[in-house]
């Protein structure tokens, strides 16, 4: 019996030793991550469980309100759009977004700081509010970009009517050595896993739903599909996502600050936290 107790105690002792370099889920968005409008149960679990020395990592993530100088680099997050001012979003109650109507072009840009060094590919999540031209009721006039509906009901899908997406990695204060200039990232297509350069890549979005684009985790010294030299991403680096709506867009589209999120597995211990925030 005593031997069993000893064995159990030793096993328990090993289990209690903290993981030295584990991995954990993390997400990042523009501004304070825990207050993102589109947070769901999963995101809330990440917020609650990503604890650094007794503090919630994501409480220190607001480089939109609190840009700062770190190690000589200006660290900031941003949401910019040429679509005009923010107004009440008809898809999401209590949320503000910028509206671009069909047959008009606009650019939406999100710059997001990575709070951990990614160990995995990064899921780029884009939540969409897309409606048929001139409509405002998502429950009867939901739409898809690139869809063209004739008066007699026939539906066409026109690739040129869709937005394009570009994703760029920007070096932060603790960037991998050699990573001095931004480079365009690759997507890993699902299914199939083939690579595609995320430089003005066509994509389509639907009504209330969320699109998931898998961004390939870059590796030092590799050449991306876009022909750039890639470097490992680190905590503090920024990811810039640009969605361009072409003048041939067939749908009304709205995006706001919170519509884009980066979800990935981070390496425990590699934290990047804003000095000035904390809820």
């Amino acid at each position: 019996m005593a031997n069993k107790i000893i064995l159990f105690s030793v096993v328990l002792a090993f289990m209690a030793v903290p993981a030295l370099a584990g991995n954990c889920p993390e997400f990042d968005a523009v501004g304070l991550d825990p207050s993102n409008y589109f947070n769901n149960v999963t995101n809330d679990r990440v917020v609650q469980n990503n604890i650094v020395g007794g503090y919630r990592l994501n409480d220190y993530s607001d480089w939109l309100m609190y840009p700062e100088m770190v190690n000589g680099a200006y660290v900031f997050e941003e949401f910019y759009t040429s679509a005009g001012g923010l107004s009440i979003d008809p898809c999401f109650e209590g949320y503000d977004s910028a509206y671009i109507d069909a047959y008009n072009s606009a650019e939406y840009r999100w710059r997001i700081i990575l709070q951990m060094k990614p160990q995995s590919d990064i899921n780029l999540s884009i939540v969409d509010c897309v409606m048929r031209q001139g409509e405002s009721d998502i429950w009867s006039r939901a739409g898809q970009t690139g869809r063209y509906r004739a008066d007699w009901g026939q539906l066409f899908f026109v690739p040129s009517g869709n937005p394009t997406v570009s994703v760029t990695a920007i070096p932060g204060p603790y960037a991998t050595p050699g990573f001095d200039e931004p480079f365009v990232l690759d997507a890993r297509l699902l299914p199939g896993l083939s690579l595609l350069c995320l430089n003005n890549a066509l994509y389509t979005s639907k009504a209330l739903w969320e699109e998931g684009i898998v961004i390939v985790r870059p590796k030092n010294g590799e050449t991306t599909s876009c022909g750039n030299t890639a470097y490992d991403l680190k905590q503090g680096d920024a990811i810039e996502v640009v969605i361009t709506v072409p003048p041939t867009s067939t749908a009304d589209i709205r995006y706001g600050r919170d519509n884009v999120m980066l979800r990935y597995i981070g390496i425990v211990g590699t934290y990047f936290m804003n000095q000035s925030t904390g809820s």
């Binding site: 005593a2 107790i5 000893i6 030793v10 328990l12 002792a13 209690a16 030295l20 370099a21 650094v52 020395g53 007794g54 503090y55 919630r56 409480d59 220190y60 700062e68 100088m69 770190v70 190690n71 000589g72 031209q133 690139g146 063209y148 004739a150 008066d151 026109v158 690739p159 040129s160 603790y174 991998t176 050595p177 050699g178 595609l196 350069c197 995320l198 430089n199 003005n200 890549a201 066509l202 030092n220 010294g221 590799e222 050449t223 022909g227 030299t229 680190k234 072409p246 003048p247 041939t248 390496i267 425990v268 211990g269 590699t270 934290y271 936290m273 804003n274 000095q275 925030t277 904390g278």
Partner: protein
């Protein structure tokens, strides 16, 4: 042993160990439960946050390389203390902070961190060493440390050490890279090719050639071809062309794409010649249609008199289907300009394929290019044009299609009517009133509804 057992019964030893474990677990749980209260003030939270990078308050933009002042060297003691800190994140932060002091002491301290028990700390230490090596006069010292680690087969992150050393040491590192090439496993070869890509000197060509002989891994091979393109020496280009002639489809496509990344006239001509000479597989040609050199390669081929009509039609089909998934507007415009001359081809089939290709490319000015074919005398070309214009008709250009609703061809005029009906307004009333007596029954029946619904009559 029996004596010890009699004096310290096993159950007592077990009890003591269990007690120690409970105390340890309690301490860990207590630490993790210290989630900050929402009521905690901002100032307080900023002071207490444990791993937050220090504010520099500096706007020098020098990436922290401000040098050391002799009177303020407490960072050395701080870093030495961090070496023994239990918290991985604290050790990492100490490593990152050493980037601010790019001198001999920092290099020495970082070398100590290379022996850390956590790989993630070692990885950060390699990065910080690389940063100092590249951004200060400590390059040689850093290089020697990393080279030694890259040679050490017992060092878990020797691949990362190699790649970082490659950025600093360049050709000096090639003998070590060679050791990696001869590694039994593919991870060694993967590190080797990425190091060669960062060195990218003509001396690397020989090593890449050896690597290509020794590795079947498609990622290693793709990176090898890209590294050769980066080196861009006559020997490198010769090796790329050799692999472009390979019967291995993946090698062929990867080497052709690597060549196309150079996007130089003489290289593009080599690629165009290879397509014309039927040396490339369909998959390779499709990949080239997405490359930055697509406009030049395909533009050249489409203008060549020696390329047969069927071949040109096939190239145009490839462009229409495979050039469009991504690409800057500049690339799309180049490709459109390459195809545009064929809109005037004497062959109607080529004209139609050119129309489809231009619609597929999706460059700026697509509408104007396509609308130039609306007055073609060939009804099949007008029909192709109108079909291709679906998706490019907007409130600013729909009026160009209004005359087409009177086209002789039923499908052409009905597609044109479908395209314009969502945009017509008061200024089009005269045209629509006239269409009340349109010979096409579908249009004749739609017009009154359009006048009622859209124009409010």
């Amino acid at each position: 042993m029996d004596g010890i057992s009699s004096r310290f019964p096993l159950k007592w030893i077990a009890a003591v160990i269990a007690l120690l474990v409970i105390v340890f677990v309690w301490m860990k749980l207590n630490q993790n439960s210290k989630v900050k209260s929402p009521a905690t003030g901002l100032q307080e939270s900023a002071q207490r946050a444990p791993v937050i990078p220090a504010h520099e308050g500096s706007d020098s933009g020098s990436k922290g390389l401000e040098g050391d002042r002799p009177e303020n060297r407490s960072w050395i003691a701080s870093s030495e203390r961090a070496l023994n800190n239990e918290e991985v994140s604290q050790r990492i932060q100490a490593v990152l902070d050493l980037r601010k002091h790019p001198g001999a002491e920092a290099v020495h301290l970082l070398a100590n961190f290379l022996n850390d028990k956590a790989e993630v700390v070692v990885s950060e230490a390699i990065d910080s060493l690389g940063f100092i090596g590249l951004n200060s006069d400590r390059g040689d010292a850093v290089y020697e440390i990393l080279e030694e680690k890259a040679k050490d087969k017992g060092f878990a992150l020797r691949g990362q050490a190699l790649i970082t050393a490659a950025m600093i040491g360049k050709d000096r590192l090639l003998p070590v890279v060679s050791d990696f090439i001869y590694d039994e496993n593919d991870s060694g070869k993967d590190s080797a090719v990425r190091a060669l890509s960062l060195i990218a000197s003509p001396a690397c060509v020989h090593y890449i050639d050896v690597l290509l002989h020794k590795s079947d891994d498609s990622e290693v091979r793709r990176n090898s071809f890209n590294a050769l393109a980066k080196i861009d020496s006559p020997e490198a280009l010769e090796l790329l062309q050799k692999h472009m002639a390979s019967s291995n489809d993946e090698d062929q496509a990867a080497s052709a794409l690597a060549l196309s990344s150079l996007n130089r006239p003489e290289v593009n001509q080599i690629l165009a010649d290879a397509i014309q000479g039927n040396q490339l597989e369909t998959g390779t040609i499709r990949a080239l249609a997405r490359s930055p050199a697509a406009g030049s390669i395909f533009g050249d081929l489409l203008q060549r008199e020696g390329v047969e009509k069927a071949e040109k039609a096939s190239l145009l089909k490839t462009i229409a289907k495979h050039s469009t998934s991504y690409g800057s507007m500049e690339r799309r415009t180049e490709l459109k300009e390459a195809v545009e001359p064929l809109l005037s081809s004497s062959d109607p089939m080529i004209q139609k394929e050119a129309i489809r290709a231009i619609a597929g490319i999706g460059a700026e000015g697509t509408d104007a290019a396509l609308m130039s074919k609306l007055d073609s005398k060939d009804s099949s070309i007008r029909q192709e044009t109108v079909s291709s214009l679906v998706g490019y008709v907007t409130p600013t250009n729909y009026k160009e299609l209004l005359p087409v609703i009177w086209d002789d061809d039923q499908e052409t005029r009905r597609i044109a009517f479908m395209c314009v009906q969502q945009f017509v307004g008061e200024s089009d009333r005269e045209v629509l009133e006239k269409a009340r007596t349109h010979p096409d029954e579908l249009i004749r029946k739609q017009v009154p509804m359009l006048l009622d619904q859209v124009l409010g009559r």
